[in-house]
Symmetry: C2
Subunit: 336 residues, 2 copies
């Protein structure tokens, strides 16, 4: 081998290295491409830099980098009604032939006539009746199969998109960005824990053991020699409002350092998270884009954000203005 040839090889390697390094740099600078430059994006990046900068006073070891995310309205849409309610309504229709008595019994009668508003006029009691009729009295394995089959084909009533395409692209990027920086990401949702677990790994990259939610009780039984867990028509835990810090403590056993929500139901989770020692991060997604998504806050029956907005201002939490902070809303529109 000639010295000249040797040098050429080195030069080529050097060029490749520089090209490659440039690519890496570009990727690193653009972990959040669906986030427009502005104070929200800047606050996120600054927080991550603070806790990952080794040797700094604000550094947090990876074990402590726990981030918790509400689901409905924070990771995916929640209008015109919680998607789990769409599931329950579809289940009522599917189960109706085996329940002739539902034709004369509320809330089922109204539901089967397509009058959701009238069915839900019964309030909490009506919702509980629907949930128990559609979520209980089967094994955990059977319920998992039902959810898995349903989510694979469920379409949004307004956009006709698959529901799993109606997750927020900026939040998917944020989840990845945090995990790339050593965070463990958890869902902490008022929704049903077993309604989410079958699909959170595929959609959010969050495994079932990092999903916290509301639940009904289960009972261990041996049926025909086969051990099963039977879902009982009895509330076990409501993971909402003051229940969220309780659920976090029960499942995770340490205080998160970052919390992401969109409603007053997430307020206590943000309070609990941001009151810890060291650098903490609280963020509210504010639904401000009636054209591309929905616009609602203080007066909404779904995802009401009232006290939370005031508290965010008081504590300096980041409030994402969906309309100006996000250049893409839904994963379905991101072409990913």
């Amino acid at each position: 081998m000639q010295p000249h040839s040797h040098h050429s090889h080195l030069s080529i390697l050097l060029v490749f290295f520089l090209l490659f390094a440039g690519t890496l740099q570009a990727v690193e600078d653009d972990s959040l491409p669906s986030w427009n430059d502005g104070s929200s994006k800047q606050a996120i990046i600054e927080f991550v830099n603070q806790v990952t900068r080794e040797g700094s006073e604000t550094f947090m070891p990876t074990a402590e980098r726990i981030a918790v995310f509400d689901n409905d309205g924070t990771l995916w849409a929640e209008q015109p009604m919680y998607f789990q309610l769409l599931f329950a309504l579809d289940r009522v229709k599917a189960l109706a032939p085996a329940h002739p008595e539902w034709r004369d019994k509320e809330p089922f009668a109204s539901l089967l006539q397509g009058d959701v508003a009238k069915a839900l006029a019964g309030g909490e009691h009506a919702i509980l009746e629907i949930v128990m009729a559609t979520h209980a009295n089967m094994t955990t394995g059977e319920f998992e199969t039902i959810v898995t089959e349903w989510i694979a084909q469920a379409k949004h009533p307004k956009t006709q998109q698959p529901l799993t395409g109606m997750v927020y692209q900026p939040m998917l990027e944020l989840l990845d960005y945090l995990r790339d920086n050593g965070f463990k990401t958890f869902i902490v949702s008022g929704g049903g824990i077993e309604f989410m677990r079958p699909w959170t790994q595929a959609v959010y990259g969050i495994p079932p053991e990092q999903v916290i939610g509301s639940s009904i009780k289960t009972r261990f039984e041996i049926q025909d020699g086969n051990p099963v867990l039977v879902r009982l028509p009895e509330i076990n835990f409501i993971d909402d409002k003051a229940g969220k810090p309780v659920g976090i403590h029960q499942h995770i056993g340490r205080r998160p350092i970052a919390a992401f929500g969109n409603s007053d139901g997430d307020l206590q989770m943000l309070q609990w998270t941001t009151a810890g020692d060291g650098v903490r991060f609280g963020l509210y997604v504010h639904h401000t884009d009636a054209a591309r998504e929905w616009a609602y806050d203080r007066d909404s029956s779904i995802g009401k954000l009232d006290k939370g907005l005031d508290e965010a201002a008081k504590h300096g939490w980041t409030v994402v203005d969906m309309k100006t902070d996000w250049n893409t809303i839904f994963a379905a529109d991101a072409g990913s």
Copy 2:
């Protein structure tokens, strides 16, 4: 540099490499040095080989490699009484000056006179009274501090060893061996979840979010502007017997592929785990060594192993004979 010298350097490097490779090999062959060669050790290694052999029918992706371990009697000793009871007794003594009424009130009166047997004669009710008096009515942060300080100095009444030295060295090696092979290790204990979490990372390498146990209820409150979780004198969940599969499902959301226990309280956990599809592993630690540890099974009031022994034989679960399978029992004796 002379060619000869150059060669010598290469030779030295080669020798070092071979030495190092030899070391690596030796380490790999001896991940379980405290386990004597025999059917128990062989069954563990064969199971791990089966689920980690890519392309084989028995292969399990890492996400599914969930292993669950009972704590008392499986990871550390449980004689002459559960160590958490030692904690409760110490707390009763520490709190007694503030509770003059305990001098005339059972089970406290007997406890304070040193008569544990008489105190516990009140059965479940007596135990509940002791637990609530010593574990509740404080914040989760306060309880964590109390446990952390206690475990740092607590000594075993018989051996005078630190309690954290009375964990089983072979089980520590097993935990490491499984994790080195892509397993996620969880504790699933009848003991208190918040009694374990402050020290499981340091002692077992198991983080708080992978600890499942019995719990009392907590309530979120804002005290003087500071959000806290208050521990209430009310049972939330008993993670024992048929409660173990329920706790596993609630926390992990998928079925483990390996379960390790030592008593009838672990039977349902082993049934639930081993009834899943594919290769599964169930193991009972059988306390057979009265000289080095304790010997007890079918008639013991603590860690009774009766039905479990029969079921183990029926299902082909591995039963560890502590006396012959383990050449070292306690971590304190392993010099590690």
